[in-house]
Structure formats: structure tokens, C-alpha cells
């Protein structure tokens, strides 16, 4: 059971993450760090005393890999214990299972499930109507956000979804609305209103993860516009793998070159051979070039009307201890991590 969260606890998040959101959807271009960021955010929410469910939807067992647990079955499993009252749970939504569960719930079809699968029925459904798959997944998400325990408390304080990538996110979120246009009766139509209003409501934030590279930034800008046009609310733009700038400002000015003599002088002071100077000077210039590209990409992100959060680049592999480090990014600065 999720304990009611006190106000102080709820405020344990940094202001760019709306404390009132109960559903966080994390999207971004492939490979930018959606899974990592979703997990870190979920962990941050859990460490503020919330009971949190982290959901993956692409059938890849990314959560099991990241949290180093056996493959998740289609049921909610505790991923980690968190100090304090919070807890972190994981669920791998399997569209095939969700379809069967759905058919069983409404039509009592479970018995024939295996046969159907063997005949390719599930493949058929997901192919002929890719939207239906998304409908089932978003339906499951809605169910976990709104589920209550027998005592009337919500089952989870927050749900974080490692969502489909930017190229598919709008279609994913809109699937229910689209399908409900066709299906005017039946369970889908009945549940669709709830799903549509949850996904577009105040309780939902859609975060976009990006790197400061050309294509991820382009996709972020495009997806942000698309989502906003479709009536969804953006949460934060999360700039992942951000590196602290170790260069003095002047080195970043275009055309600035680093004088190897200057480097050599410095090296002498700490007893390093001056022969390193030329190479080091080249490295700094290349590095400055790269930072300038990143800054340019960062400027392009300015078009997106959403708060920005930087997540630092850590030494791979990212495992549980690194996740704890990344989770700290999402907590309020004043608040220390719980003992």
C-alpha cells in the first residue's frame, strides 16, 4: 500500500519535474538514454517516499538488464528497496500478453490463446492494426495509474514509462483516440475516454531525452512541436550525457587556437615534458570544436518551450550505483539523499 505522501516529501523533486504529475512518460531518439533516464527518475521519485511503478513497453527486457534482475514476467515485481517509505516496482508490458488478458477479460478467450498465437493471430492484430497494440499498452498504463487498493488508497503514487521513441510517441499516445473513432461500442470505446483524458491531463508529463547532437536535437524539436500540436503537455527536455565545461570561456570563441608554448610553460611548472604540449594543444582545440557544436545544438533546443534538465555523462556501464547518482539530478537541490 502506498502511504499518503506528505507535502514536504512531495516537494523533494526539483521544480522542473512537476510534483503533481503521477504519470511520467519518457521519450527521445533511439539510444539517447530513455531507459536510463526513466529508471533514474523513477528512483528519484521512490526516494522521496513514493511508491513508484516503472513500466517498459517495447518487449526488450531493458529493465531486467539495467537492474540486474531475472527477466520480468508480465506482472509487477519489486526492483529495488529504497530507504524510507518509498519503493520501486517494475513491469514489462508484453503486448501479446496484454491482448490475451484483454480478450480474456472481456470475452473469456484465454483458453484459445495458445491456438491463436500459433496461428499468428497476435501478429495479425499487431500488423493490421498497429494502433491496437498501443491501445492495449496505454490501457494497461492507465489501469496502473488509477488502480486503488481495497482501502481506497492509490496503488502507486507515480508511474514512469520508458516510452516508445520520438518517431512513434505521438501515434502511441493518440492510438486510443484513433481506434475509438472506429470502435464505437465495446470495451475499447468504454475505456478510451479515461485513457484520453489521463494522457492529456494535468497528471501527465511527457519528458524528451536528447543528446547535444544534431539528429537527437532535431527529433526533439520535431516531437515537441508534434506533441504540443496534438494537445499533449510537455514535461522537461532532458539533456543526457552532459559534460561539465572544463574550458575557460575564451577558448570557446570561434577561431581561437591554443598556443602550444603556453601549454609547455604550464607543463614545466609541474615537471611534465614539454614534448607533450603540441599534442595537448591539439586535443584542446578539438575539444573546443566539439563543445561549440554542442552549444549550437543547445541553442537549437531553445525553440522548445519546456524546462531543461542536464544529466551528467558517467563512465559506462551504467548500473545500479550509477542510477542512484543520476537519480540525484531529479531531486530538489536543498534536499539530501535519505540516509
Amino acid at each position: 500500500m502506498a502511504a499518503p505522501i506528505s507535502r514536504a516529501r512531495a516537494a523533494g523533486l526539483r521544480p522542473e519535474i512537476s510534483a503533481g504529475s503521477r504519470l511520467h512518460l519518457v521519450t527521445g531518439k533511439g539510444g539517447t538514454g530513455k531507459t536510463t533516464v526513466a529508471a533514474a527518475l523513477a528512483l528519484a521519485l521512490a526516494s522521496t517516499g513514493r511508491k513508484v511503478l516503472l513500466i517498459e513497453v517495447e518487449g526488450r527486457q531493458s529493465l531486467a538488464q539495467l537492474f540486474d534482475v531475472p527477466a520480468l514476467p508480465y506482472e509487477e515485481k519489486r526492483l529495488l528497496t529504497v530507504p524510507g517509505n518509498g519503493s520501486l516496482w517494475g513491469l514489462a508490458v508484453d503486448p501479446e500478453q496484454a491482448l490475451i488478458e484483454y480478450l480474456d477479460m472481456f470475452y473469456g478467450l484465454k483458453r484459445s490463446a495458445r491456438g491463436l498465437r500459433k496461428m499468428g493471430a497476435v501478429d495479425f492484430v499487431t500488423t493490421v492494426a498497429p494502433g491496437l497494440r498501443d491501445v492495449l499498452i496505454t490501457g494497461k498504463i492507465k489501469e496502473s495509474v488509477t488502480r486503488t487498493n481495497p482501502d481506497g488508497h492509490l496503488a502507486y503514487d507515480a508511474v514512469v514509462v520508458d516510452a516508445p521513441p520520438t518517431g512513434r510517441i505521438t501515434r502511441f499516445l493518440n492510438a486510443t483516440r484513433e481506434v475509438s473513432k472506429v470502435a464505437k461500442v465495446g470495451p475499447i470505446s468504454r475505456q478510451s475516454e479515461g485513457v484520453v483524458s489521463l494522457l492529456r491531463g494535468k497528471q501527465t508529463s511527457i519528458h524528451i531525452v536528447t543528446l547535444l547532437e544534431e539528429m537527437p536535437v532535431q527529433e526533439t524539436v520535431d516531437a515537441a512541436a508534434e506533441l504540443t500540436d496534438a494537445g499533449f503537455r510537455l514535461g522537461a527536455v532532458i539533456v543526457n550525457r552532459a559534460r561539465p565545461c572544463v574550458l575557460p570561456e575564451e577558448l570557446l570563441e570561434p577561431g581561437h587556437t591554443v598556443d602550444p608554448e603556453l601549454v609547455a610553460d604550464g607543463l614545466k611548472q609541474v615537471n611534465l615534458p614539454a614534448s607533450l604540449a603540441a599534442g595537448l594543444a591539439r586535443e584542446v582545440s578539438d575539444y573546443a570544436d566539439r563543445l561549440r557544436v554542442e552549444q549550437e545544438n543547445e541553442r537549437r533546443l531553445g525553440k522548445v518551450d519546456a524546462p531543461r534538465i542536464e544529466v551528467p555523462d558517467l563512465n559506462p556501464p551504467v548500473e545500479i550505483s550509477e542510477l542512484h547518482e543520476l537519480a540525484r539530478v531529479f531531486r530538489a537541490e536543498s534536499e539530501d539523499a535519505p540516509r
Binding site: 483458453r111 496461428m119 601549454v263 611548472q269 559506462p316
Partner: protein, 385 residues
């Protein structure tokens, strides 16, 4: 160092027996960049070359003179000593062309307008891969090219390129689609005799969920398709076979990250199982220190300590630059160490796979000069070795 074999791309590209080069790998690793750079090498070596790109970054496309998706090879300007043509795959148009070619005119028109066909041809996961193969088949059949370089669609798994065409084929040919669409084609009674109760039930539920319209679309699409299906399927199979011939070379691209290398491993193993010719691995965006290439070294830890010592002396403008240089070096040296470890791990697991490493450039690659730089890096190691 690791004793791995060098992938000699210059030789591969120049070899007149090499007719088709396919770049594959997981998402974002540099497939498109590598394809374009390899094609440029081929063209500048005097071979009439075409590169089929898929979803290139906007600026790269523009620099090759590609402004719209039109399935037409356009000559790239600025190529020296040879001719390079580039095109962007338009998957919907390619699908349309297949339909037009294989179906009688009236049927074709019917198919093209079918709403189910429209969604299948523009958004089915796998259509892009299927159409990339189809286009490759066409380019080979046209017999106008000395060298064809094919990029593969962005997907999480490199295997998708090999699997998707088959999936689509199986789907269109599938039992399910026939059974489910039977009522519309054969009428109720015959239908019930053939189909098990659970499928009948399923069809009913399905109709209820999605409405009869969609099923009707699907079934009319399938019956229209029947006339052309043989040709359609056969084509995909032929192209797949073509990929196994010695004139084809697969170049697997990966970044030095665990996920990308894992995908590369799967792909390498799959190629070998399918007896498809693997040229080798391009390990792209490898971070290196400049010092390594000058034959000197400075470890990350020593650089960091020296930077700390400098800053303890109290920074002035002079030592500021040296300190920054040392900190930058420390960061790069750590990254280089990581990437080197990744490369060695792959090489140990796959000693038979030739490898070439391409360093990470400071900026994105979005013009011919950038491609030439990548090209010379792709071929530098082999000639030096």
C-alpha cells in the same frame, strides 16, 4: 596490439568483383555516414557508384544534392575523378511501383487506394527494410552500376534488415489473414466449416473492436494482391539470395558501446549462419587521445594530478590554459581507455572478423569533405599496416 585483422576497405571497394556493399548495425552508429563515405571512395576510384541512403540527416542529404524523397539517383557534385549518384529511399513509392508492375492496371488502382494498403505501405514496421531490399534488387537488375552501396534503416537491431522482409512476406501470405478474411470472400457457411471455433470467435471479437470496415479493407487488399503475390514473394527471395553471392559484402558498423557491439555480434553470427559474405566491422566514433598518435602517452590519472597541482599553485591566465589542457586530456584518456577495452573485447570474441576503427570527429559529418575525411580514416589503417 590485439592482433586482430585489419579490414581493408580500400581494397574491397576497388575490387571490381565487389558489386554490392551493405552497411548495417544498430541505431545511430554511423551506417548512413559509412555508406556515403564508402560510396565516395568507390566513385573517386573511378567506379560508377550509386548509394541508396535511408533517412539521412538533413544536412548530409542536402550536401549530396538530395532535397526530396524521389527514388531517383541524383549525381553528386564535387566528386573528383569519378561519378557518384545518391538517392533516398521512398518506401511508399517503391511499394506502389511494385504493385503497379505486378498487378493488372485495374487491380493496381484498387490496391493503391485501399486504406489498409496505405497504412501498410507507409507505416508497417518492416516495410522500410523490405523496400530497401526491393530497391537494391532493382538497382542490381538495371545493370548500370559498377558499385551499389546500400544503407539500412534505423532500427534497434541490425537483424531487422534480414528478418523484416520475410516477416512481411509471411504476414501477407499468412494463414491468419486468409482465415480472418474468409467470411468476406467466401460467405458464412463454408467459412464455419473450415475455421475452428476459437478463430471464428476471435474474428467476431476483432470485428467488434475494429469495425467491419478495416476487415473488409484487408480482405479486398488480400484478394487483389493474390494475382501478384507470387511475383512479389519471389522477388524478395531473389534479392535475399543475391545477398549471399560473392559480389556482395556486408560491412557491420558499431560504436564502442556494449549495446552496439552486442548487436554487431548477433549480426556477425547471423551472417555466418546464413552464409552471407561479411567484409568486417567498422568501429566508428572511437575516442582517442592525440598523444597516442604522436607516440607519447600521459595517463588520465597523471594528467588529473598535474592539473590539480597547477591549480593549487594559483591560476593565472597562463597556467589556466595548461590546466584546461590537462583536464581535457584526462577526460579523453579515460574515454579512450574505455573504447579500447570495448574493441579488444569484440576482437577476442570474434578473432575472424577484420576490423577498422574510425575516430570520433569533433563535429558531425555533413558534407563531402567530411565524408572524405571519414573515407581516409576508413582506409588509413589498412594502408599503414
Amino acid at each position: 596490439m590485439t592482433g586482430e585483422q585489419r579490414l581493408d576497405l580500400a581494397a574491397l571497394v576497388r575490387d571490381r568483383r565487389t558489386r554490392v556493399i551493405v552497411t548495417c548495425g544498430s541505431g545511430g552508429v554511423g551506417k548512413t555516414t559509412t555508406a556515403a563515405a564508402v560510396a565516395l571512395i568507390g566513385a573517386e576510384a573511378g567506379r560508377r557508384t550509386v548509394v541508396l541512403t535511408i533517412d539521412p540527416a538533413r544536412r548530409l542529404a542536402q550536401s549530396m544534392g538530395l532535397t526530396e524523397l524521389d527514388n531517383t539517383p541524383r549525381e553528386v557534385r564535387g566528386v573528383e575523378n569519378g561519378r557518384l549518384f545518391a538517392m533516398m529511399l521512398d518506401m511508399k513509392r517503391t511499394f506502389d511501383e511494385v504493385v503497379l508492375q505486378h498487378a493488372p492496371a485495374d487491380r493496381a488502382a484498387q490496391i493503391l487506394q485501399n486504406p489498409f494498403y496505405v497504412s501498410l505501405s507507409s507505416s508497417f514496421a518492416g516495410t522500410q527494410e523490405y523496400m530497401a531490399m526491393e530497391k537494391l534488387g532493382q538497382l542490381v537488375a538495371a545493370d548500370e552500376w559498377d558499385l551499389i552501396v546500400v544503407d539500412t534503416p534505423p532500427s534497434r537491431s541490425a537483424l531487422d534488415f534480414l528478418d523484416a522482409p520475410n516477416r512481411l512476406g509471411r504476414f501477407l501470405d499468412g494463414r491468419m489473414i486468409r482465415l480472418l478474411t474468409m467470411p468476406a470472400r467466401a460467405g458464412g457457411k463454408a467459412y464455419l466449416k473450415v475455421v475452428s471455433a476459437s478463430v471464428a470467435m476471435f474474428a467476431k471479437v476483432f470485428t467488434r473492436i475494429l469495425g467491419t470496415e478495416l476487415l473488409t479493407d484487408v480482405s479486398s487488399f488480400v484478394s487483389a494482391l493474390e494475382t501478384m503475390f507470387g511475383g512479389f514473394r519471389q522477388r524478395a527471395e531473389q534479392t535475399y539470395e543475391l545477398l549471399k553471392t560473392p559480389g556482395t559484402a556486408f560491412v557491420v558498423v558499431a560504436s564502442p558501446e556494449p549495446d552496439a557491439l552486442r548487436e554487431a555480434s548477433y549480426f556477425v553470427e547471423r551472417l555466418s549462419a546464413e552464409r552471407m559474405p561479411l567484409a568486417g566491422l567498422v568501429l566508428n566514433r572511437v575516442r582517442r587521445t592525440v598523444l597516442d598518435s604522436t607516440g607519447t602517452t600521459l595517463s588520465a590519472a597523471r594528467a588529473e594530478a598535474a592539473a590539480d597541482a597547477l591549480s593549487a599553485k594559483g591560476a593565472d591566465r597562463l597556467t589556466g590554459v595548461a590546466e584546461a589542457a590537462l583536464r581535457v586530456h584526462s577526460e579523453i584518456a579515460q574515454a579512450a581507455e574505455h573504447d579500447g577495452r570495448m574493441a579488444r573485447r569484440f576482437a577476442t570474441a570474434h578473432p575472424e572478423v577484420p576490423i577498422v576503427s574510425v575516430p570520433a570527429l569533433p563535429a558531425d559529418v555533413h558534407d563531402l569533405d567530411g565524408l572524405r575525411t571519414i573515407g581516409s580514416l576508413l582506409t588509413a589503417e589498412a594502408s599503414a599496416a
